[in-house]
């Protein structure tokens, strides 16, 4: 199910490809047709570095369908170094307590699985930054 949709989003899910507004230089992620900052058309792709910091976070215990086997897991708002914010799971946390402001970096991991015969969906998660940016 939904194969074409995941294919459509692969540049964003696997490579964090967004846009930069040609008019105001605003960095945009996820990409969209109109710059949310100045309202001009935005079509120029922009490669994000994958580095950012935790803006907020929480633990999901009662998971939605398709995510039950990974529960509990940590979901965060990540403020990317280039400006925009995104929603992602945190991973590879080890014993390290999550804190607001913690530097993180993008990795590619499995997001969900739809049962034994279902599709595996991969995409970005964020882990504590291994070295200072």
């Amino acid at each position: 199910m939904e194969v074409s949709r995941h294919w459509r989003l692969k540049q964003q899910r696997y490579a964090l490809v967004g846009e930069v507004c040609p008019s105001c230089q605003h960095k945009i992620f996820p990409p969209r047709d109109i710059c949310p900052d100045c309202g001009e058309e935005a079509r120029t792709t922009y490669q994000f570095s994958g580095r950012g910091e935790v803006f907020s976070f929480t633990t999901v215990r009662n998971a939605p369908t398709g995510f039950e086997e990974s529960a509990p897991y940590t979901v965060a708002l990540i403020k990317l170094d280039e400006g925009p914010m995104l929603t992602a799971q945190l991973t590879d946390l080890g014993e390290k307590p999550v804190e607001i402001g913690m530097p993180v970096e993008m990795v590619t991991r499995r997001l969900r699985s739809d049962g034994d015969r279902g599709m595996l969906v991969y995409g970005y998660k964020f882990r504590p930054a291994l070295k200072a940016a």
Binding site: T58, T65, M85, T87
Partner: protein, 386 residues
């Protein structure tokens, strides 16, 4: 535009109605409202609902199905959907229709059937209120999205978790006086502190319970409702809706309900009223953080200061701005697509003086605010006794 009055209301208890289907629920609330209004026919029916498309109900085209069920054969009917803000949006659509003169009498029925669907499916269904490409695939529940806002809010403004207890305690105390409430047991600060964690910092007593429910309201032209009848005339004095980015991460101000600020300002302006005129406020306390943000957006507190009103008694019956007078989403319950209609029916009964043990003395102007998603679609209404 002509003045519009509320002719009748109907509400079922929010509960686990094993014996009632989504159509039974909607039908009973609709017939109660029609009966209350002394009418058999209306010219349009708007059904408000969020989740029928998501789970085992298996029934869309709810407008036609409900119209037929309640004997409104042939009437114009369809659904209005804006996630948990569906009810307020449907009421506003009915108001627009009647105010314009295109429709004479309109019936809005909010309905949700939630208790016969497995928990994870409901959790997934509620998450459809969020961005399906860039929020939902990352696995946040709807509670988690609100938790992200609450944690950052506490971080920026320095509020401890206990600062939010007042919202929950007030809602439960009021719900205990409402026979239609899902939860009718008062709670203490101790209960709040010890409640099971759902998605930190949101615990079970920060979160509203889902349930099966239906509420209905009949709207018609004000000139045919005469003051001095069996109840005071209640007018839709202000009505407005606004949106913000659906994803929290896309918002310019993720700790503010910008759509609430915009729709409240427009509804106040239309009503010629301000926060100081409001006698009772049914706000969208799906989570206690939303009570704080909603009070801030509607001008009752500065940004970051909403929890103070939960703490200092302002929100209690008899306080400066009583909220959740029938228990709110927290205790009356949150049958998502029906909730906005409950809020408006409750404010109406307050202004009619028919709120029973939940009555706020001397309530003449009321505010109702319904939120779709984590802040994306927000509908605000001012009702006034006239």
């Amino acid at each position: 535009m002509r003045d519009v009055a509320i002719y009748g209301t109907g509400m079922l208890q929010v509960s686990e109605h094993w014996d009632l289907s989504i159509i039974d629920l909607a039908g009973r609330a609709a017939l109660e409202a029609l009966n209350d209004a002394g009418l058999e026919r209306v010219d349009a029916l708007l059904v408000t609902n969020m989740l029928a498309a998501c789970h085992s109900t298996g029934q869309l085209n709810l407008g036609a199905r409900v119209a037929d069920w309640v004997g409104l054969h042939g009437v114009e009917a369809y659904k209005v959907e804006a996630a948990c803000g569906s009810g307020g949006a449907g009421f506003r659509s009915a108001w627009l229709a009647v105010a314009s003169g295109a429709i004479d009498l309109a019936l809005v029925v909010g309905v949700e059937k939630m208790t016969e669907t497995p928990g994870p499916e409901i959790t997934a269904g509620l998450a459809t209120a969020a961005d399906a490409d860039f929020e939902v695939p990352m696995g946040p529940s709807f509670v988690a999205l609100n938790a992200l806002i609450m944690r950052r809010y506490q971080h920026e403004y320095g509020w401890p978790h206990e600062a939010f207890a007042g919202f929950s305690i007030n809602a439960h105390a009021n719900g205990a006086r409402n026979p239609l409430a899902r939860l009718q047991d008062p709670i203490t600060a101790e209960d709040y502190r010890k409640a099971r964690m759902v998605s930190d910092p949101i615990n079970l007593l920060d979160a509203s319970p889902v349930g099966d429910g239906a509420a209905a309201i009949v709207l018609g032209p004000a000139e045919r409702v005469f003051p001095g009848g069996r109840r005071p005339r209640v007018l839709v004095a202000g009505s407005a809706a606004a949106t913000d980015s659906i994803a929290i991460h896309d918002r310019n101000a993720p700790l503010r309900l910008t759509a609430a600020e915009k729709s409240a300002a427009a509804a106040y302006a239309m009503a010629g009223a301000g926060p100081g005129d409001i006698d009772v406020f049914e706000l969208h306390d799906a989570f206690s953080i939303m009570s704080a943000l909603s009070l801030e957006a509607c001008g009752f507190a500065e940004p970051g200061q909403g929890p103070r009103l939960g703490d200092d008694g302002s929100i209690l019956p008899g306080g400066r701005i009583p909220v959740a007078s029938f228990g709110g989403l927290k205790a009356r319950g949150h049958p998502v697509g029906a909730t906005g209609v409950y809020q408006l029916a409750e404010v109406t009964r307050q202004l009619w003086g028919e709120a029973g043990a939940c009555q706020i003395d001397g309530a003449r102007v009321g505010l109702a605010q319904n939120i779709g998603g984590s802040g994306a679609t927000i509908v605000t209404h001012v009702l006034r006794q006239a």
